[in-house]
Symmetry: D2
Subunit: 158 residues, 4 copies
């Protein structure tokens, strides 16, 4: 992810000029994302996409991607979408989320696309759509998430 300039159409100005580095560095410490084979696909102010390929090691009883995997990448995408708008020296944690699973997750690849609905000093609300990406590039909506994220000072006791 090159340090491309932020689109002037962004509705939410980032407070951390190095937000892309901050997201990338934090994502690299999420060992679980590596376990899933997930990678950052887009990092813009208020928007983060995470891609994950289908793998037999990530399936439920019918051979589809487990809802927990779909949820995990959507959760991380929401957290990092919030993080793009957070000030330096902070961290983000998911407070809660809700997800509707809309179709069986049987595509070769999936993309969780999270956007900030309302940024806040303490709480940020994000939504995410997870798409199955078919071989021809067509997208199928697989899940929809609504999530609340809290921003905290780093090194501050909980």
């Amino acid at each position: 992810m090159a340090e491309t300039p932020v689109s002037s159409s962004s509705p939410f100005p980032p407070k951390n000029p190095r937000f892309r580095e901050a997201v990338t560095e934090s994502f690299s410490r999420q060992a679980f994302m590596a376990t899933l084979g997930a990678s950052l696909a887009l990092v813009e102010p208020g928007e983060v996409h995470i891609a994950v390929p289908f793998s037999p090691s990530l399936t439920q009883q019918n051979g589809f991607l487990h809802a927990g995997v779909v949820t995990s990448v959507a959760d991380s995408a929401c957290g990092y979408a919030a993080f793009t708008l957070a000030p330096p020296e902070t961290d983000v944690l998911a407070v809660e989320f809700k997800i509707n699973l809309l179709a069986p997750a049987r595509s070769p690849r999936f993309l969780a696309c999270a956007t900030v609905l309302r940024p806040g000093r303490t709480l940020t609300v994000c939504e995410a759509k997870v798409y199955g990406i078919l071989a021809d590039g067509a997208r199928e909506l697989v899940a929809s998430m609504l999530s609340t994220i809290i921003t905290r000072q780093v090194n501050k006791a909980s």
Copy 2:
């Protein structure tokens, strides 16, 4: 899990006398549960517990268990709690769930305990609590989930 008799105090009678085998067999096909190192800890009518040990491969950016892992075992526990009450020749799928993450997941072991709130022919609603299990056996509430599960005939087109 031996074929122990069903407790007479169970509020919901199972419709499948071999529900324990059905749950165990389906769980064994959830490759993602093996990837997480998760195992069935209890299977009773309307109640299922799933255990998962902490692992560095399952962490988020601060070294705690990723919310997606906590959610994944809670989701499977809810699905299988519903499945204990389903008739033979059916399968269950999560329609949606919501989870609140209540404390950092930093215990050596976690237990997701799901119970059926309302069984139904089509839809079953479950709740789950996820506990961190400390070295001395003490429990700390880590997350609370509310989930809707659909029961479907096997081999029936969606």
Copy 3:
């Protein structure tokens, strides 16, 4: 609401050619909507808007619209958005929903705008945004809902 032709751009074709009458008739039987002063503002295939004016009788402790009112109109809007796509001789019921309250509800008027994310024979998933409508017509996002609705045959025992 005149019987205007359905927009050809609608992603979901209605199964009931008299869906507008069906929605309007059902809404008129929701006594609670009259109690709130709410009215249908738009009925299109897969999309329903409900308007509600601010009233001192609908407030919480700080004089803002109670979250329950915001939620009630969003819930009805989601249910009727699903109902626009339901076959004749059916009814809809909310299975569950989740709502994030994003800003204090202190506008003179509110509009709940629901759309269908995924229609289904049994379950339909909708999302709704609730906007505060300011005196100059500007909109402020007040709440976001994600809802699951079940479609049932009329007169069918539950």
Copy 4:
């Protein structure tokens, strides 16, 4: 509600010795609760019950209590359960909630029973069950809610 001593079995000690007065006073300012005919039925540390009688003015299209009414009393019960544990000079606001509607709401009276799952300085998580109370006093579980509440200093700008 007399100033009865707090049960020694309460898991969460209140920080405001006058929490009952604070809850009662705030509830009396929720005009919407009066519009619904709702009343406080129990106020204990970490637990609040709100009762609402069935009324034809509160119904949905089939003559049952509207899901929005069930939700409104559950939401207020959760907010006030959190408020029982809040310090003096604070107020509470619902951040979000999710509710599952488990049975048609056709009893003569309903009781929303909210308890605190996890109290926090900033965020408190509550769950509520709503019961239909039958003529013979029997209870039927009608809905289950999971809610996040934020505690704020009074007179502090948002």
